[in-house]
């Protein structure tokens, strides 16, 4: 049967995304589907998606240190980067949402009952839209590591949660950004759930001295790569 099918999006190479069933991360056991997924060829619903530009952004959403009356506690940092697809093409005008723990490793969330202090001047949620070249930038504080109950003496490495829409339903991505040289990587089952070690490294931001704000904030670069389009039949390489 011939179907009207638009050009779809390329799958990530094997080992890029974590398997849903990853026993080292205990919460996957009751939640990972047991049946293999059925392939959904990309049609109009999948190659389109919500284009959520400016309408979702509040005035202070890009600067998590100044969302309250007082200043947030902790090490000020700039977190910035470029969003592109796997062909290197910029993804402009796309919503980037982040959330994170405070400098002490505590989330401003009723479900977080770790005893580290809350900061009344830090909520930990941010939103920006990429510019025409795919660039984004937040000002925030460096999140602390926090313990969790996954295994004995389990600690999450410092991380910032990221959510991206891209231009299509297929490009939707939720991930976590980590900081260079974190001594907690080796024992973290979430970071290590990514099978390919090279892909895992792409979750780690890089310190960027040139982007620091002198006398004010350190800077970390986190570039994000979303899926790219499949080649049209004419450009299909021969094996």
């Amino acid at each position: 049967m011939t179907l009207s099918r638009p050009v779809g999006y390329r799958s990530a190479p094997d080992g890029t995304h974590p398997p849903l069933d990853h026993p080292d991360y205990r919460s996957t056991a009751p939640r990972a589907p047991s049946q293999p997924p059925i392939v959904l060829p990309h049609r109009l619903t999948e190659v389109t998606g919500p284009l959520l530009a400016g309408e979702r952004i509040g005035e202070r959403d890009h600067d998590l240190t100044t969302q309250h009356d007082g200043e947030a506690l902790g090490q000020r940092i700039v977190v910035f980067g470029r969003v592109c697809d796997s062909d290197g093409r910029a993804v402009p005008d796309t919503l980037v949402e982040i959330w994170q723990a405070n400098a002490a490793g505590r989330y401003a969330h009723p479900g977080d009952n770790w005893s580290a202090p809350l900061d009344p001047n830090f909520t930990g949620g941010g939103r920006v839209v990429t510019d025409s070249a795919g660039n984004y930038s937040f000002t925030t504080i460096k999140p602390g590591a926090y313990p969790w109950s996954n295994h004995h003496n389990a600690w999450r490495p410092s991380h910032i949660h990221f959510s991206l829409f891209g231009r299509a339903f297929t490009q939707r991505l939720v991930t976590q950004m980590y900081f260079p040289d974190d001594p907690l990587f080796a024992q973290d089952p979430i970071f290590n759930s990514v099978p390919d070690p090279k892909a895992r490294q792409r979750l780690i931001s890089t310190f960027d001295l040139a982007a620091t704000r002198p006398g004010w904030a350190l800077a970390y670069r986190f570039d994000i790569v979303l899926r790219g389009r499949e080649q049209t039949p004419f450009e299909e390489p021969h094996d």
Binding site: P19, R31, R43, S86, G88, I98, T123, V174, V225
Partner: protein
Amino acid sequence: MTETQLGPTPSQTVGPFLHIGLTWPDGADVVPEGTPGAIRIGGVLYDGNGDPVPDGLVETWQADPEGRFDHPDGEASRGAPLVPGFRGFGRCATGADGRWEVRTVKPGAVAEQAPHIDVSVFARGLLDRVVTRIYFPDEEVANARDPLLAEVPAARVPALIARPTGLGELRFDIRLRGEGETVFFQI
């Protein structure tokens, strides 16, 4: 021309505190309150033990009632919005009882496909989103011809069809694992 491919950024779980970053006060409003013909679609997100998942997020994406998308790649089917304030997109975090719900209008058929809504599910314990589709119970003929439903083992098709539970109200439970497991798609 051969281009160098960049490796995509891997997925990671939303974790239990997704509400700080991913919830919007009006997130569940695919259409504004008071929209004529609006329907409520929702249900419970269950884990493999049959327990409700209280830290999940359901997102929906769909065509308008004419089967059109307001998107450059949906050009062929684009047009002036029929439903004022129609967003196509909805998101709803699950409550303590695992419940989620969006307010929307029924999408039109998209090309040769039966009316459907694409769904992403995120949760603590899901290292990547899982994707499913909602089909409609009053579309027997279109559902029977739908190219994607044709790929699904017949016994599992009912899990993809919402159930009417009242006037303008459809129920779509999502079971991540185990008995009655929802059909998930690889996109």
